[in-house]
């Protein structure tokens, strides 16, 4: 089965599924930290709220708009940058 990696942990996905959808189905709700230190999560689901930002290959992307690809390395966005 195809998987992405969330902090190194394999997460299965359906072909065409968004990162947000696959992560939620795997029980991953917290995608990072807001500048205030509060947890961030999927909210609007259509690329409007910027709540579901995650880091893929050093870049910030909206998890709700980004389709899963096999082996994609996905990390939370928590203000701790190490690009």
């Amino acid at each position: 089965m195809s998987t992405i990696l969330w902090q190194g942990r394999p997460i299965p996905f359906h072909p065409g599924e968004s990162l947000a959808s696959a992560l939620i189905r795997a029980g991953v709700l917290i995608l990072g930290q807001a500048p205030t230190g509060q947890p961030r999560a999927v909210f609007c689901g259509i690329g409007q709220c910027q709540g579901c930002l995650v880091r893929v290959g050093g870049r910030l992307v909206e998890a709700c708009l980004t389709p899963c690809r096999t082996g994609m390395d996905v990390f939370p966005e928590d203000g701790e940058h190490d690009v």
Partner: protein
């Protein structure tokens, strides 16, 4: 016939210059009204990158005044109004190609002549600062400058007791007589002993004889990047080329990369003669971005979250206009700073406050201040429009 004054001094314009004048006057015990069409920091002061920079000032009186103002800004930040607004930090000037490298030589000469608080701490290749890209041939690192978001300074200055805010209020007309100045605010008239016109881009509405024009600079803001990676502003030497007596056409865009405390970057800017704050174009933004990324490659990974044009009040000869109008000495001008108000506001606020109290300028800066006098233009004043 004139009514007795409501205030000792009225200040038209709640930008950083007007706010500093107000703070100084209120501190001397005068009653002050600050009138603004919109509110505090509504124009250039609110759209600035906040660099308190001497290096970028036009050589001569302006650079010397900026140096004195930087020292005074530091004093005001030591437990004074600018505590929490001003932060000391290093700054950097980079260049590529003969014209920019020559401008950097001239910068070092200029700073040496001023012999003020800004000193060259390093001068070399891009190895001087880790993280620089191939777009940097030479880097000059400076110590002594700092950062001060315009809106924070404005807010701090205007918080002083004795300052009466009057906004939003549009000034329909200005009439001066021997005893004072009357402002027509539409619904009411406001009378003051003197008027300080710190009107920025609105200056021509009331003083059309003064050659002040709006000059737009496209800017963009990124989302958060690695905080602290760039310790201070990174200015292309092309920016210095634009601020000379005979502005040379810069071979490369005059970018300034300014890191904010949030980990965001504000990056500018173009120089265009119009006043539309929402007017941006992809060709210009891509030029600014291309050069910024070549100088600081990590920017490529960041996202642009906003772009706009900061509108500054520019004067034909590149110097601000500060001092009494020759034919209406109860009106004091303090305008036309074209973005330099962030650095100059502390000193100019103090000196214009002295003028408004009928005192002579401080000895150390009197000659340089004189170079900014409105009397250098045709000495005629238009009454405010009806």
């Amino acid at each position: 016939m004139p009514q007795p004054p409501d205030f000792d001094v009225a200040i038209a314009g709640a930008g950083i210059v007007g706010a500093s004048v107000a703070w100084h006057l209120a501190g001397a015990g005068l009653s002050v009204a600050v009138i603004d069409a919109t509110g505090p920091a509504a124009a250039a002061s609110g759209a600035s990158d906040g660099a308190v920079s001497v290096a970028s000032k036009k050589p001569g009186p302006l650079a010397r005044l900026a140096s004195a103002s930087l020292l005074y800004t530091r004093v005001l930040s030591q437990g004074g109004p600018l505590a929490g607004a001003f932060q000391a930090r290093p700054s950097y000037v980079f260049g590529q190609g003969a014209a920019e490298l020559a401008a950097m030589d001239a910068l070092i000469v200029k700073l040496g002549q001023i012999a003020g608080p800004v000193r060259v701490s390093a001068d070399g290749g891009r190895g001087v600062l880790p993280g620089l890209g191939t777009g940097v041939e030479r880097l000059v690192a400076l110590d002594g400058e700092g950062h001060m978001p315009g809106h924070k300074a404005v807010r701090a200055y205007l918080a002083r007791p004795g300052i009466t805010p009057v906004w939003p209020a549009r000034i329909m007309g200005i009439t001066a007589d021997d005893a004072g100045v009357t402002l027509d605010l539409g619904a009411r008239r406001l009378r003051a002993g003197r008027l300080v016109a710190a009107l920025g881009v609105s200056t021509p509405d009331h003083f059309p004889a003064l050659p002040v024009i709006p000059r737009a600079g496209q800017l963009f803001i990124t989302d958060r990047g690695p905080a602290g990676a760039l310790p201070g502003s990174l200015t292309a030497a092309a920016y210095l080329l634009a601020k000379t007596d005979s502005p040379a056409a810069a071979p490369l865009p005059p970018v300034v990369i300014d890191p904010l405390a949030t980990g965001q970057f504000i990056i500018g800017s173009s120089r265009e003669d119009h006043g539309d704050p929402l007017r941006v174009d992809f060709a210009t933004l891509r030029q600014l971005m291309t050069r910024s990324v070549a100088a600081w490659p990590m920017l490529a990974e960041l996202r642009v979250i906003r772009a706009f044009a900061g509108i500054r009040a520019a004067v034909a000869d590149g110097l601000p206009i500060v001092g009494p109008l020759p034919d209406a000495p109860r009106i004091l001008m303090a305008t036309g700073f074209e973005g330099d108000g962030i650095c100059l506001s502390a000193l100019i606020g103090a000196e214009v406050a002295r003028m408004a109290r009928g005192l002579p300028p401080s000895d150390a800066v009197a000659a340089d201040l004189n170079a900014l006098s409105p009397s250098r233009f045709t000495p005629q004043r238009q009454e405010g429009r009806a």
